[in-house]
Amino acid sequence: MKRIVALLMCVALMVCLIAGCGGSKVKKGDGSTFKIGLCTNALIEDYDTNAFTKWIEEQSGYNVEFQFFSTQSSEAKSQVATMIAAGEPLPDIIWGVDFGREVYTEYGDDGYFLDLKEYFDDKDGVAKAFWDRFDILPEYDQEKALRNMVNPASGAMYVLPTLQYSEIDVMDYMMCINKEWLDKLGLSMPTNLDELYNVLVAFRDRDPNGNGLKDEIPMIGNSGLSGDVVNYLINQFVYYNDAKFFNVENGKLTTPFTSNEYREGLKYANKLVSEGLLSPLSMTTGGTTLRGYICPPTDASGNINKSDMIVGCFFGHPTIVVEPNNPAAYSYVAMNYWNRCVINDNLSDYQVFITEDCENPDGAWNFLMNFYTEEAANRLRYGEKGVDWDDADENTTSFIGYKAQIKVMNQVLAQQNNSIWGSIHGTVMYYAENEVTQIENVSEWQDHLNKQFTALHDNYFGAAEKYNPKELLSAVVYTTEEHEQYDMTISNCKAHINNSRTSFVTGTLNPNKDSDWNEYLSKLNELGLSTWQSLAQKAYDRQK
């Protein structure tokens, strides 16, 4: 009996192995040729002799031909529209043209783009490479991607997604504080909102830069990456992701932007602005302009005059808002998070299609499956393996302390090159560059920045884990009909919420006055908040 069981197990194991082996590898191509339409990138020398082109041809066993669209995605979009209007044949594959959901759904419904649902459904067969790669994403991102990939009206799937995951890019606010000023004034690092307020008042009144002038900016954010200081303040009171608007509780969508907690957040932000603690420049200054405020100009020997420093605490991505090698950076250290931390969406896009003019869609699908491997993702992003990048050395780490996966020898992205296609589409990228790249020969300046970066990252996700609601809204996707009918209502509501938020913070409207607040709410109802909310609820429930 035991023998039979053992034998059976052996057979089962072998079957598994063979199946696993056969399934994980994409079938080799038959040498047929596919025409790919893509947005060109001016930095790429020649797509035909490109290192990635050569690699993907060899890897997949298919040949590639190109049809070039404009370098501008919007221009490429109208080029395809013109081709369709004129009845010209489309390339077999369209790779990386940002049509937007409404347009590509229309093209799909009209039959220009193929419905790939059959392929996607064959999870252990032709789509295995995709789903294997998909599995490495966190559950939240998977849910969001699935909602976006499927046409909610018909269940059709027209698009091969590009899914990127990074823990740096999703941080809504990174904040650093001037440690030197704190020490000089004998203050300790703030650990809650009241202490933060006291610190800001001290920065404003006690002349921390010592030039005898009240020229300090106690707190400033920026309108770019990780700089949303107003959203930070609102999230001290209620979880609010300003890209999603709704929250979700037990499967029901709620409206944080009408809550009393939200109003408290606005009151607090309004107080900071009116007392001169938070600069209204936060809402209009871009990341690189903020550099000039944080870092005073250096003299010939690279030093700065410390009395020229005016910023107490800033919000923004440290590598963007701090000028490289400016000594001002040493004064700033990462601040703590002690409340909710908004997780933004990753940079994913939905831009790869197989068209109706493709004569061999099975082959095209098979060809595109070759993009869903780690190596393909790395080659698309970092260039040729062994030349531009390679596997990381043993036991090395990246900026934020993760195990390094690659070492970059030659930066190709945003440089003139012939090793990548210039943009990343139809693949799954896991982690942003500084999360996987091995670090070596770091300057003192860079080391300081990396330490703050690591601290910001660790605190952020620690706080998010502890204070964020357990259920987060992934995506709400409307059907074409819903979109056509209600787009005006939805965009009216969104514009009203965002404009009013700015007005409440800068003092055009007063959040402390009941009349202003009630007018905001009644206008919102008048514009159709309830229609929007029930529509979003319907859309959310549809794709459970």
């Binding site: 009209d110 209009t284 514009a495």
Partner: protein
């Protein structure tokens, strides 16, 4: 002089049709030169006009312009469903009228100054310097504005810093002109005037050059001062040019170019800086609603046409048919 040249040859006057034909035959080489521009206008301006119909359709690429479904006035009504449409119209008109009233006389005044000045080298230098801003592209122009008016690192910021450090200015907050609602229109219009005034003088200088020196000589003998001669000789001579330019400008009353406004927009001045064209860009083109964008554009053009006809009518009335464009 002009009356004489318009006198009709008695041999040809008997037959108006024959007259026109003969006139044409006489100058056929000149008429031939019209063919190319005519062709251009028909091909690129009249030809595509059939596309206007998508304003009443729901345009879809599969169905094409002729095949898309008719939706009646929906696209037009949609504009009035935008909750801030009144603000859009108000902002557009405010900027447009401000631009017209402030910007229109300045090139004329400058041209008169240049014409009057006796120092010819100075005139040439002034002309060249005032032309240069015309060649700056909008993007660079707005970049310059942003730099100059930056309250911390800009030229304005340095002046404020200087004033603050000498205790001339007490205020400690960094006031940002670029994001002030109240300043937006002034900034927009006056930067535009700075950029366009030199270039705008060209036409008037050319018109002023046509003033007959005899008139000036006669007036000088009669004891007219330079100021009186400007008032009674120069201005009346260029008045038809001014009137034509004004009529043409009034045809743009509903169109404020979107690039510059869009670039100068930010979340703090949006209540004054959102105009029809930026809205069309954001909601029509960027969201691929071509029918909607067309409908609003058509509406603008209709209002502009009405404006141009009205102003032309008034100009004709006031000048007994002399100053009108048509």
């Amino acid at each position: 002089m002009s009356k004489k040249s318009k006198m009709i040859d008695p041999d040809l006057a008997c037959n108006a049709k024959g007259y026109a034909w003969n006139k044409f035959k006489q100058s056929w080489q000149l008429q031939l030169m019209l063919v190319l521009p005519l062709f251009y206008i028909i091909l690129f301006h009249y030809g595509p006009m059939y596309g206007i119909q998508i304003a009443w359709r729901n345009y879809r690429a599969r169905d094409g312009i002729w095949g898309s479904a008719w939706v009646g006035w929906k696209n037009f009504q949609d504009f009035f469903r935008y909750y801030k449409w009144k603000l859009l119209v108000k902002n557009t008109l405010a900027i447009s009228f401000y631009q017209l009233l402030a910007g229109f006389p300045i090139p004329i005044i400058l041209a008169l100054f240049l014409h009057v000045s006796k120092h010819k080298v100075l005139v040439k230098i002034t002309q060249n310097i005032s032309y240069i801003p015309h060649f700056i592209s909008t993007v660079v122009m707005v970049g310059i504005l942003n730099q100059v008016f930056n309250p911390i690192t800009g030229f304005y910021g340095y002046i404020m810093k200087f004033l603050r450090s000498h205790h001339i200015v007490k205020s400690t907050t960094y006031y940002d002109i670029r994001s002030s609602e109240g300043a937006f229109r002034h900034l927009y219009v006056w930067s535009g005037i700075w950029q366009a005034m030199g270039w705008g003088t060209i036409l008037y200088i050319a018109a002023l050059a046509a003033v007959s020196p005899e008139l000036h000589e006669a007036a000088t003998i009669d004891g007219a001062s330079r100021w009186k001669r400007v008032l009674h000789i120069d201005i009346p001579t260029i008045l038809p040019t001014i009137s034509i330019m004004f009529i043409l400008r009034s045809g743009h009353i509903m169109s404020v170019g979107y690039e510059k406004v869009y670039l100068m927009q930010n979340s703090l001045n949006i209540n004054k800086s959102e105009v029809i064209s930026t809205y069309v860009y954001k909601f029509g083109l960027a969201k691929n609603k071509l029918s909607y964008g067309t409908a609003i554009g058509l509406m603008n053009s209709a209002i502009n046409s009405v404006m141009i006809i009205t102003v032309n009518f008034i100009a004709n009335k006031l000048s007994d048919g002399e100053a009108g464009l048509f």
